[in-house]
């Protein structure tokens, strides 16, 4: 008997029990859809963050207070004992490194915005007049803050896309005034939608001069200092010079990251996350596979007489075996294909809220895995069926 014939027999058997076949497939469908969807979200977020870091250009260096390389005992990020940078440290770096390289101190913190009766909480990313060098973002309306505004701690603000939509729907905000932590600010510009980035969801942020933000937040600290090298070749040398400049003041209590290192770190974290999501989804696929095995075992004992009849008229071990394996594989592969379609559709819908990307490898993995599940969990029942003694099978009640 040939393979095509086995497929035909298997399909007929599945068709005879449509509801049961459908419910069995549901386990695989859910498992595969979950794999596709979760991996799509993981990959989508990873790509977007990677993209926005890369978008800043490869000649960026970030300097954080605290020693990130020494492990938990070494103070670590955000540890209160760590001495923070100030704007003066950034100025010192700028003088030491020379004006062909750009040094930008960055401060971040939470703010409450209010326009009329509309209120929203958001974060500010504040820097000096060179902010444009390190934060991407095309200006859609208005302008960036100027040097004079930085030195004067002017109460001017630039809005991210989401903030603008929420507070000034269908309206040009430039020139309008608004309340920031209870103080009056003037909107000088707004930015196009960009998605997530190193400093969080940029669309949900506002921008202002660093001096203004420090006053609002009641601090003189600087969260990080970004340095943009004139060319990519300068990055290595600059790293060394930054260390030399800061060591007298901070010892080894600071960390210098290049763009590449930051990227690697993020990719590592997000990659692990994606694998974890895929693993969780994989478990549900496994459960679906066990469902297939269960149904196939039921089906074999239900159809013992049929197996006896087939053997009596000349079916070989292989014929019976392939019939049942193909049944199981069909259940899992059809389930897999439907699951992939559902997962991809789900990912397409979700892109409105979360970045998603359905990758070829995720589809291939889900498909291979589901077919594998079918073979793995189908072989045992099929083997059992194929080994039945013809006369025993015919006598079976």
């Amino acid at each position: 008997m040939n393979f095509v014939e086995s497929i035909r027999i298997a399909l007929r058997a599945l068709g005879a029990n449509k509801v049961r076949s459908g419910l069995t497939m549901l386990g695989v469908i859910i498992g595969v859809a979950a794999v596709i969807l979760l991996v799509a979200i993981g990959t989508g977020v990873q790509d977007e963050i990677t993209g926005s870091i890369e978008g800043l250009g490869s000649n960026l260096i970030f300097v954080f207070a605290g020693n990130f390389e020494e492990g938990p005992g070494g103070g670590g990020p955000g540890g209160r004992s760590v001495r923070q940078f100030s704007v003066e440290d950034a100025d010192l770096l700028q003088r030491r490194l020379g004006s062909e390289h750009v040094v930008v101190p960055v401060v971040q913190g939470p703010l409450t915005l209010r326009v009329g009766n509309r209120t929203m909480r958001t974060t500010v990313a504040a820097a000096n007049e060179n902010a444009g060098e390190v934060f991407g973002g095309d200006y859609v309306g208005g302008r960036r803050y100027r040097r004079s505004e930085v030195s004067a701690s002017a109460r001017v603000i630039v809005l991210g896309a989401t903030v603008r939509d929420r507070l000034f729907p269908n309206q040009d905000p430039v020139g309008e005034t608004m309340s920031v932590n209870g103080q009056r600010f003037t909107v000088i510009g707004y930015v196009a939608a960009q998605g997530g980035s190193l400093t969080g969801d940029q669309d949900n942020q506002v921008y202002m001069p660093i001096s203004t933000a420090q006053r609002l937040l009641g601090t003189t600290d600087v969260g990080l200092i970004a340095v943009k090298a004139a060319t990519a070749d300068d990055v290595e040398g600059l790293q060394r010079r930054i260390r030399q400049a800061l060591t007298p003041r901070f010892g080894d209590e600071f960390t210098v990251f290049t763009q590449e290192q930051t990227l690697g770190l993020f990719q590592q974290i997000l990659g692990t996350l994606t694998f974890m999501l895929a693993g969780i989804a994989g478990i549900s696929l496994l459960v679906g596979g066990i469902g297939i095995m269960n149904i196939m075992l039921v089906s074999v004992s239900e159809r013992t007489r049929e197996i006896g009849i087939r053997k009596a008229v000349g079916a070989r071990t292989y014929d019976i075996m392939s019939q049942f394996v193909i049944e199981a594989v069909t259940l899992s592969v059809v389930g897999g294909v439907v699951g992939i379609a559902l997962g991809a559709a789900g990912a397409a819908v979700l892109t409105r809220w979360v970045p998603t990307e359905v990758t070829v490898w995720a589809v291939a993995l889900a498909f291979t895995f589901s077919a594998g599940v079918g073979i793995f969990f189908g072989v045992y029942p099929a083997y059992k069926a194929s080994r039945l003694d013809p006369i025993e099978a015919l006598r079976y009640e």
Partner: protein, 266 residues
């Protein structure tokens, strides 16, 4: 030989030169049921010549079905050997046995054993599927076999849409579709009324006329006498082996019944 001219149907005169097609030698079958051993067969020797029709008779529980299953290669003897067309089968693998069943033996069961929810045509095609015959050829041969048993107009019917006699005829069509050399029928008329029984017997006799060896299990003497030879078994042993002196023709019987009831049944 000229001593049995009444056998008719051209079977006499072949007796001496006919070769043995199926042979059981010292066949025993023992079932272990917990503490008890059931000896279903206790040493059966039986030779069946090519092209003959033989009846196996015996009371219920005497081991007729057990013997049929063993010579039909559906079951293995506990001891002894079975030889099909000169080949000893005891050392054959399950797959080789399946091939012999497929090519050389057609089995008709007392309880039909058709695949449920499967059309008559597909049921008859089944042995051809496992013989590797291609789709269109298969359908053609299955249709011919069904026409031969008078069911040319029931191809698409499912088993539960057929009468008992019709189901048994589908089973016979399935047994003969591979053109086997031997057809084994275990009480083929056991579940049928007498008219359907005559039809089934007529088909088996007709197959025999065309040279197929037919072995028939029955406990009904009038059914047994459709064959040329009757082997009687009791308690797992052969206790008698006789030639049928007045062989019954099922076709004549059927026609006689048809005349009595005023015809009508084709």
């Amino acid at each position: 030989m000229g001593d049995m001219p009444e056998m008719g149907e051209g079977v006499s005169g072949r007796r001496d030169d006919a070769r043995v097609i199926l042979e059981a030698r010292g066949v025993t079958k023992c079932y272990h049921l917990g503490e008890v051993d059931v000896h279903a067969l206790r040493g059966v020797d039986l030779s069946i010549c090519d092209g003959r029709m033989l009846s196996l008779m015996g009371p219920s529980g005497s081991g007729k079905s057990t013997l049929m299953h063993i010579i039909g290669l559906l079951d293995r003897p506990t001891e002894g050997s079975v030889i099909v067309e000169g080949e000893e089968v005891s050392r054959m693998s399950p797959n080789e046995l399946a091939a012999v069943r497929n090519h050389r033996i057609g089995f008709v069961f007392q309880s039909f054993n058709l695949l449920a929810r499967t059309s008559a045509l597909a049921n008859v095609e089944l042995p051809l599927v496992y013989a590797g015959v291609s789709g269109s050829e298969r359908a053609r041969r299955a249709r011919e076999a069904l026409e031969r048993v008078g069911l040319g107009d029931r191809l698409g019917h499912l088993p539960n849409q057929l009468s008992g006699g019709e189901q048994q005829r589908v089973a016979i069509a399935r047994a003969l579709v591979t053109e086997p050399s031997i057809v084994l029928a275990d009480e083929p008329t056991g579940n049928l009324d007498s008219i359907s029984g005559h039809e089934v017997m007529a088909i088996l006799q007709e197959l025999n006329i065309h040279g197929i060896t037919v072995v028939l299990v029955t406990h009904d003497d009038s059914v047994a006498r459709h064959a040329e030879r009757i082997v009687r078994i009791r308690d797992g042993l052969v206790v008698g082996d006789e030639r049928v002196t007045e062989r019954i023709s099922a076709a004549d019987q059927r026609d006689a019944v048809a005349e009595e009831t005023g015809g009508g049944r084709a």
